[in-house]
Amino acid sequence: MQTIIRVMRPSPSHTTAEQELLLPDGLTPERLLDAYKTMCLSRALDIRIWTLNRQGKAAIAASAQGHEAAQVATVMATDPTRDRYLIYYRQLTATLMLGTTPTEMLMQFLAKDGEILSGARQFPLHGAHPRVDLFSFSNVVGTQLPQAVGVALADKMKGRDAVTISFFGDGAASQGDCHEAMNFAGIHKVPVVFLCENNRYAISVPLEQQMPVESIAARASSYGIAGIEVDGTDVVSAYEAVSTAVDRARSGSGATLVEMRVERLLPHTTDDDHTRYRSQEDIERMRDLDPLPITEMMLKRHGILDEATDAGFKEWARRLVDNATDEVENMPFPPVGEMYSGVLEEVSGGTSNG
């Protein structure tokens, strides 16, 4: 079974022609509007975090700007009440879309007491979420892929109806772990979706120095799994692609590799300066692929969004982020003493930290 489905550009979001928008099953104008609202919030929060870093308040940040449509679409195509999400540092939008509050997000970046994912032991977006099964154990690129296969294998063994989404980047695709994970997933048909957000760069390394092929999705054929390549700036196509993958997983057909083509609109992290390695026109060109205006125009074109609502969303987002900033900036850091516990299970007879 090696279907390669390709959703090619130009896709609905990009065509300016007044054509009718055919929404795939499960996608309603209301859901699209809600997704766009989260995209606005994510963008506002993202910009704020970058500022907090420049003010010396946030040690490090990776931006999701450019990836927003791909991430809201992915979450919409899954069921947060039963599915599982192995993210990496760039899933700010997905984490918001899964119900994390701006305050909870900022607490990660400012490493404040009570931070929900890791107690501020780890970088932002690392640790485990208390309300949804979203987690990221480490910054080591690619390690989540075999882990996601193991998570999905456990669900398959236990007959639980859960799908595991494993986010990764184009750079992570080069790791041996990526090969080993997809090979095993193909053999045992585990219910996992390998969700690649291909933004053409791994820090400064461009795609052509990362791999000698055009399509990551096409590698699915090496593992007997399905591969889908989709425009990740097009929320509708992206939703359709992930839904197909999730349906395959739920129906026992096994794994799917979904490649979302997106752009990384900002440098790799706040420590990076992409003018060192990206040409001016490359930087210019990518601005046309900003999913926010693309989605905004698409929704307006199809009468789902009007000016007033749009302005309302952006105002709402700004206020939410402002309030969260004030709130979090005044929070204390975690007490020093807490760092000593939780290395191993505290067993009767006292803890053994090894």
Partner: protein, 328 residues
């Protein structure tokens, strides 16, 4: 009481745990119909099925990474690395990831997994079927590392490892698999992780060892007892992380002399840590330098028989070291 070899103790413990808890499953290369290259799972696939006794592709990093994923999602995987020499591709998932899951998620996720690793030399294994690989694991916070020497301890400690809620590396010395026989009853008993065990009492010298070297050390203790009347107390470390300082220091406080015997090369090793513990916390009890018997600083270990024999610490070499230390 049941007399069995160490490999039988491992197999029977695995069988019993698999029967007890349906969340336990085993994964590794050739553990299915082949029963594992050391037959630790002989007959298992017939009893438990191919899903719970899972043959994996030849890819150690994914064996541990997938076991870790299953562990954080409610299973209790027991992964087998076929030979210790092949654990290196899995270090990233084991030391980089599994060890830090509980701490890095602030308890949000835990990794109850056991990684069985047949290790050690004296089996004509050459450079790539003889290695001891405990150092990095014994150094890593978040891991538990067990190295039993007897069927009794193998059984009691493997039970504890599988039932523990933290990632545990379980080191089985290949040479001891069929060499060592002993009592290991079917009764439900466990041995505590993190506790050393005095395998021979003595008043003159404290000898600390683990794995195959525990047995060579006991033989050496007998030799010097007969030949020189030196009474050596032999402490079996059993757990390499955490190391049981208490038992070690208690013994040294009574003998005033410490000798550590180790099959792995000595520089920056478990034997270094045992020395360091004694030199800091047991210093005022010491009547002589803390000595070590370790192999030469060469890659373990040559394939040719005479060189392999020269590499391995032997009862005679250990006996000689005991005599030297007794005379200081």
């Amino acid at each position: 009481m049941a007399e069995m070899t160490l490999i039988e103790a491992v197999r029977e413990t695995l069988r019993g745990e698999m029967r007890r808890d349906p969340d336990i499953f085993m994964m590794g290369e050739d553990i299915g119909p082949r029963g594992g290259v050391f037959l630790a799972s002989e007959g298992f696939v017939e009893e438990f099925g191919a899903e719970r006794v899972m043959n994996t592709p030849l890819a150690e990093s994914s064996i541990i990474g997938i076991a870790l994923g299953a562990a954080v999602n409610g299973m209790r995987p027991v992964a087998e690395i076929q030979f210790a020499d092949f654990v290196w591709p899995a270090i990233n998932q084991l030391v980089g990831e599994a060890a830090r899951v509980r701490y890095g998620t602030n308890g949000g996720k835990i990794a109850p997994m056991t990684v069985r690793v047949p290790y050690g030399g004296g089996v004509r294994g050459g450079l790539y079927h003889s290695q001891s690989i405990e150092v990095l694991f014994a150094h890593t916070p978040g891991l538990q590392v067990i190295a039993p020497a007897t069927p009794w301890d193998a059984r009691g400690l493997l039970r504890s490892a599988i039932r523990s809620n933290d990632p545990t590396v379980f080191l089985e010395h290949k040479r001891t698999y069929r060499l060592v026989r002993g009592e290991a009853p079917d009764e439900e008993y466990t041995e505590p992780i993190g506790k050393a065990d005095v395998k021979r009492a003595g008043k003159d010298i404290s000898l600390i060892a683990y794995g195959l070297m525990l047995h060579y050390s006991l033989q050496a203790a007998e030799i010097v007892s007969q030949s020189d009347g030196i009474e050596t107390e032999v402490v079996d470390l059993r757990t390499l992380r955490p190391i049981d300082s208490e038992t070690i220091l208690d013994s040294v406080s009574r003998t005033g002399r410490a000798l550590i015997v180790q099959e792995d090369t000595g520089a920056v090793s478990v034997s270094s840590e045992v020395s360091a513990i004694i030199a800091s916390e047991g210093f005022f009890d010491l009547d002589a330098p803390v000595m070590r018997v370790t192999p030469p600083e060469i890659p373990p270990m040559p394939f040719s028989p005479l060189q392999e024999a020269e590499y391995m610490p032997s009862p005679d070499k250990i006996a000689a070291a005991i005599r030297r230390l007794a005379e200081v």
